[in-house]
Symmetry: C2
DNA sequence: TCCATACATATAGACACTCTATAGGACGAC
DNA sequence: GTCGTCCTATAGAGTGTCTATATGTATGGA
């Protein structure tokens, strides 16, 4: 791990990508940069994690990719959320809230 | 998954076990029951997850096991935190706080 | 006494996900 | 036209949890 301060929690990457794409369509590296920026570098999503995840999400029908041009005139695949993806994001957020609460409860137990 | 409402976040099991043992020494199944109880059944740690984790923690020197008798007169191995385990728990709690904050930030981004 | 059940620990094997490392094409700068 | 950057992509390894199974002991009922 180069500069990232923490490993990603397994199972949260899909949710972070879906959330990021819910704000605006982005290409792969764009998603990665956005997450890096919002989390102040805590999460640095490497290509080897990012692209398998994007393909998985597309396979499931939660995002849809379209080839286009990046701001720098490079060939880039832009992903956007589908309706199913929006529902999925909602479900993952609820699940995360439940899990985070449970962990917090254990950590605060006396 | 039988009745548990959520999969464990990978990487958090060690922390939950350490925290549970920091309150009082317990045998394996005791740890499992305590976590189940505190989280209202959200996390149900199965033996196949629990014992490898306990052995891992013992290997690292964070917990120490002693054979004894359970409340039901059964042979049971009681685990308790070592000084190193207490330090480790602190480190994992700080890491969790950072990760949880980063995820929350992404989810609340606009 | 004998059997079923619950308790308690333990291991094997499968599976899913992220990581490191590597690859390659396409554009811009110089 | 060569170099560096941008962008996508895949292979391979490693880690950790899950399901399923195994073993032994004590308890309780018939």
């Amino acid at each position: 791990m180069a500069a990232g301060k923490a490993d990603l929690m397994r199972g949260t990457l899909d949710m972070l990508i879906l959330k990021t794409l819910s704000l605006q369509p982005l290409h792969g590296l764009g998603v990665s940069r956005r997450i890096d920026q919002i989390t102040d570098g805590v999460f640095q999503v490497k290509p080897g994690s990012l692209f398998p995840a994007l393909h998985r999400l597309e396979q499931e029908g939660w995002v849809k990719g379209k080839w286009g041009e990046s701001e720098n005139n490079r060939r880039a695949k832009y992903y956007e959320l589908t309706a199913a993806g929006r529902r999925r994001l909602g479900a993952e957020k609820r699940n995360w809230a439940q899990v985070a609460l449970a962990i917090t409860r254990v950590l605060e137990a006396t």
